[in-house]
Symmetry: C2
Subunit: 271 residues, 2 copies
């Protein structure tokens, strides 16, 4: 039993879709969340810049007494996880490994699609882990740089010609390639699940990276007897690097529930 909280960070608010899954799978756990809203988005930046920002994010989380860290950001999980693990004593969970394994388990025709930010695609991390699980799978990757701003501006509904057109533009090559499994390789993308699902059709399985890492963490904590005692629901604490104003409204969108816990601001550049 271990009642210390789990540290979760993301470039911004997308990682809250991962916290939503954590709450579903591990309702007794407490979470310290950091969203780097002052420097979001990471997905179009260089590996060097992403690594620098991620180190600061981890350093801030480490100012709390945690039992594990979750990188709820596809971009950081792809570009910097090895380095962060090498520098850190706590276990660090990223979205890429469990999601890649799950996609390989699910595919029947061996053709997997991957959509993510430019930096995630450029890192080749998903391909690497999928090929480690099964050398024979064929992977088609497409960077979708407009998805994050469209989600953040609420353009997520079916019937909205803007998101429908952008989804079709990005996903057409994957549909043509006949993928039967599609990895949503960015934690913003679950908010587009309906539009993406409708475009790809009912035979294509969508794999949500936030959900996969939540399950992996649950298994890990259970095996090591590190789950919380579950005497009460977990206590969360939210931290952001830009003003807290507006956080609750936007965050509730990603989290799927009202945000009632404390929200504080962090000077992340000082870490």
């Amino acid at each position: 039993m271990d009642n210390r909280p789990i540290g979760v960070f993301d470039s911004g608010l997308g990682g809250l879709t991962c916290v939503r899954e954590l709450e579903r799978v591990l309702p007794g756990e407490s979470v310290i969340y950091f969203g780097d809203t002052g420097r979001v988005p990471y997905g179009g930046r260089s590996r060097e810049t992403i690594t620098k920002y991620a180190r600061q994010d981890v350093a801030f989380l480490r100012s709390h007494d945690l039992k594990a860290i979750v990188i709820a950001c596809g971009t950081v999980s792809s570009a910097a996880i090895e380095l962060l693990r090498a520098e850190e004593a706590l276990p660090i969970f990223g979205v890429v490994e469990p999601t890649a394994r799950r996609a390989v388990e699910l595919t029947k025709n061996g053709r997997i699609g991957l959509i993510a930010t430019r930096a995630t695609i450029a890192s080749g991390a998903y391909e690497q882990f999928m090929h480690r699980a099964d050398r024979a799978v064929q992977i088609r990757s497409v960077p979708c740089p407009l998805f994050v701003p469209l989600v953040e501006n609420g353009r997520t509904q079916r019937g909205d010609i803007v998101i429908e057109t952008v989804v079709a533009d990005y996903l057409a090559p994957l549909k043509e390639a006949g993928v039967d499994t599609l990895v949503l390789g960015c934690t913003h993308y679950p908010l587009l699940r309906e539009v993406i699902g409708a475009y790809m059709g009912p035979d294509v399985r969508l794999v949500d990276s936030g959900a996969e890492v939540a399950h992996e963490l649950a298994d890990y904590l259970a095996r090591r007897d590190q789950l919380s005692d579950g005497g009460a629901p977990g206590h969360h604490h939210w931290f952001v690097s830009d003003s807290q104003q507006g956080f609750r409204d936007l965050a509730s969108h990603f989290l799927g529930r009202p945000v009632t816990e404390p929200v504080d601001k962090v000077d992340i550049e000082s870490y």
Copy 2:
């Protein structure tokens, strides 16, 4: 005569549309440009964060020997220029004042539209300067948060249903309000001039903030006999806070010419 360069900064590459105008109006001047590509965009961030970033941007430019500083960023010009001027001996030119004055000169029916980032609109700076020039003008403002990512992803062409739809969504209230003058209050927006112009119709005058500040600076330098000797075209030097990779391609888009001058990286958080 003063051959020192002009310092220009922006949250990213949008400010290059302003340098393009500077090159047209003042071809003999040298420019030191800083684009904060590691922290772009500024337009959705709080005034506090924008001010902090802008101070670092000015501090970096001041590590060069300059004759003037241009804030080629609508967001910073709106949110932080008074404070930057109070802290700085060099003259600082922002896009808001000259653009606001020009819009008031141009309007015939006294109805002016303003499109810009959320932070620019929230600051009220444009309204303030327009009302200072003419108390009677009516101003309608619309934040257009999707324009920057759409421009940066090349969706600027007429006939693209995505940009056409987003332009119509944002600008419909301005068209209905019967504005005869529309301020492009963000230096990214000149790349949408054609789509916006087609939507608003030929009777609406578009005012480009980058062009207005270039003219204001030219007048100022001429009056003070601080123009360069014009013996040769100016030398430019580009600086960015993320990797230089890809800068030349994207920048040439905004600048309207190939980028041949040196590009260097700056650790902006250390300023």
